[in-house]
């Protein structure tokens, strides 16, 4: 019996060998940290090591959910993501359709090239760009815009009320090109025959967009939106930590689960609550991905992730 299993697998041994480095990497980089969620149920003591640290049951979670932070970071993470999904998707669809309606081949290519530029820049450089605009003393907005109209300079980095808009604008600036190109590829892939039929029937441009392009985009929209909903518990750490320059007065409005976990781990050295927040994010995040995929499966099976 053993021999036959060996013989059956023998010709695949080189293939198994090829898989070893990648699987080993996934085991270390991804699977060991998954087991590491036990940290959230322990009082970590580095002298004893993780495994020997004492168990504290759900204490870390109890503490976390008794603070206001738990509510703030959940609210911020979800609300920002909802705004990003709605605005980002709407903007991307409009631009994809505009690009498609454009006749000039050169224009199509040039515009695609330019709108993708912000996507290529790291969030750190984005923080510098935002800082050049918003710095209180030397910023472009305070000096060249508000100053020109004789207004009083705004201390942007300590005024929370502006930040939901600033963060949305920065998010759109960085990502709309990327999303537009995904939707544009989908528009280009639509059946040309449908457009010809619409033209023969004398449809106006507007009718064509409403009755051919948008319905054609529906599967892509559904899939991408549901996938973003699956990621709604995650946020771009750089956008929420680096762009507001970790400014104290803004924390209530810029703190998300990711920045909370980072601050707990690196700044306030509160590993218990930080890991509890991490586990909370992982579990709810995973449940949301599964739910989103379940819905995609119901709506259009071939677009489902699995």
């Amino acid at each position: 019996m053993k021999k036959s299993i060996f013989q059956r697998h023998r010709r695949f041994i080189p293939l198994y060998l090829m898989m070893v480095p990648g699987l080993l990497y996934l085991f270390i980089n991804n699977y060991i940290p998954m087991a590491g969620i036990i940290i959230a149920f322990k009082q970590v003591n580095f002298r004893l090591g993780i495994l020997k640290s004492p168990w504290v049951k759900f204490n870390n979670f109890t503490y976390l959910f008794h603070t206001d932070d738990a509510w703030t970071i959940t609210r911020n993470t979800i609300l920002y993501n909802v705004a990003f999904i709605i605005l980002g998707t709407a903007m991307a669809i409009v631009i994809a359709i505009l690009l498609n309606e454009l006749r000039s081949k050169f224009g199509k290519k040039a515009y695609q090239t330019v709108i993708l530029v912000p996507y290529l820049i790291s969030m750190v450089v984005v923080s510098y760009l935002v800082n050049a605009l918003l710095a209180t003393e030397t910023g472009f907005i305070n000096n060249s815009i508000i100053g020109a109209f004789g207004g009083d300079p705004v201390s942007w980095y300590s005024t929370p009320k502006y930040w939901p808009f600033i963060l949305m604008l920065v998010y759109l600036w960085k990502n709309f090109g990327y999303q537009s190109i995904i939707y544009y590829a989908s528009v280009v892939g639509l059946d040309a025959g449908l457009y010809e039929a619409a033209a023969i029937d004398g449809a106006t441009r507007w009718q064509r967009i409403i009755h051919v392009t948008l319905p054609g985009l529906k599967p892509t929209i559904i899939t991408l939106v549901l996938m973003s909903i699956g990621r709604i518990f995650y946020s771009d750490f750089g956008l929420f930590y680096q762009v507001p320059m970790d400014s104290g007065p803004l924390i209530n409005i810029t703190n998300t689960i990711d920045t909370y976990v980072y601050r707990g781990l690196m700044q306030s050295n509160n590993i218990g609550m930080s890991s509890a927040a991490g586990v909370y994010q992982s579990l709810v995040g995973c449940a949301l991905v599964l739910l989103a995929n379940f819905i995609v499966n119901k709506v259009s099976k071939e677009d489902a992730l699995f």
């Binding site: 695949f12 080189p14 293939l15 090829m18 898989m19 480095p21 990648g22 699987l23 990497y25 996934l26 980089n29 060991i32 940290p33 998954m34 087991a35 590491g36 969620i37 940290i39 631009i95 505009l98 309606e101 454009l102 000039s104 224009g107 515009y111 090239t113 709108i115 993708l116 290529l120 820049i121 790291s122 510098y128 050049a132 605009l133 710095a135 003393e137 030397t138 910023g139 472009f140 305070n142 000096n143 060249s144 100053g147 600036w173 709309f176 990327y178 995904i182 590829a185 441009r205 892509t220 750089g238 976990v261 781990l265 930080s274 890991s275 991490g278 992982s282 995973c286 991905v289 599964l290």
Partner: protein, 295 residues
């Protein structure tokens, strides 16, 4: 009708040009300010209209900031080594998974895929890398955690290979007596150069732009990449001076054109990607659409 259509085209061009200005405006602000005179900047603030011209910021960088050159070298090294390792690991894992005759193929694919569904989060990873692998303040900290291979690209490549490499080709090679390794190197890799090129760009960009690994795992400036350095300097320009190069203590921070230097350094950090990008734009767009629409 034709006239109306032309008017529509003009409107679309107008909207798209506005969007392009929206995209490029901050870069213009950055570049113009980096060439401005320090005193004028302090008086008038950053501006898109050049009111003065000075190379002081760049001169300062070239003369004093050995840190920046060191960081540049580190970035290039990390990007090259990391990208090569990533592509090798990804290809080695993706090819067997693309083979329909691989035993338990779906189970193996799920092992890869599951890492996209669930993760342990930052805290366990951080503790593992620092306490058990002692990665803190090493070059490996910039290369290994998170970035060295990702399930998403493995699955993207697996799908691509199983669609683009006909089984008959592999079968023919096998009949000719080629082993699996030979098939991979002589047939599969040359046939999948387009997807590999796309992955090289995406992975290379991820390494070039990464600053989080440096933020988590580095405390010594001598290991900083350009992005990590930029990140540290955003809070405190002093980092530029507390560096590994000799004579740092002689440099007077008050003589530093700090307002323009901030912009000059951001230009230095962003420029390589912006210069290379137009030539590879096609591959970037392809990578984005291939990856997003069909995982």
């Amino acid at each position: 009708m034709v006239e109306k259509n032309n008017r529509f085209q003009i409107v679309v061009h107008f909207v798209m040009i506005l969007l392009c200005v929206f995209c490029l405006f901050p870069f213009l602000l950055l570049v113009v300010s980096s060439f401005a005179d320090e005193q004028q900047l302090i008086r008038d603030g950053y501006s898109i209209i050049p009111k003065s011209f000075s190379l002081a910021a760049y001169e300062y960088i070239f003369r004093n900031a050995a840190t920046i050159f060191k960081a540049y070298g580190t970035t290039i090294m990390v990007t090259v080594v990391g990208t090569v390792l990533n592509i090798v690991l990804t290809t080695l894992l993706a090819y067997p998974l693309s083979r329909k005759d691989l035993p338990h193929r779906n189970a193996w694919s799920f092992v890869v895929f599951f890492t996209m569904l669930f993760n342990g989060g930052l805290v366990p990873s951080y503790i593992m890398w620092t306490q058990y692998f002692h990665i803190k303040n090493t070059y490996a900290a910039l290369i290994v955690p998170g970035l060295m291979m990702g399930a998403f690209y493995v699955i993207m490549m697996r799908t691509n290979l199983s669609q683009n490499i006909p089984e008959e080709v592999l079968e023919a090679a096998r009949i000719d007596g080629a082993g699996e390794w030979k098939i991979l190197i002589r047939i599969v890799v040359p046939m999948s150069l387009p997807i590999i090129a796309t992955l090289v760009l995406l992975v290379g960009l991820a390494y070039w732009n990464d600053w989080t690994n440096g933020l988590y795992y580095l405390t010594k400036t001598k290991y900083y990449t350009i992005q990590v350095l930029l990140n540290a300097m955003l809070q405190d320009l002093q980092v530029l001076l507390t560096s590994s190069f000799s004579g740092a203590s002689n440099v007077d921070i008050t003589s530093m054109p700090s307002t323009s230097i901030k912009m000059a350094i951001a230009v230095v950090g962003a420029i390589p990607v912006l210069c290379i990008y137009p030539f590879f734009q096609k591959y970037f767009v392809k990578g984005i659409t291939v990856g997003a629409v069909k995982g």
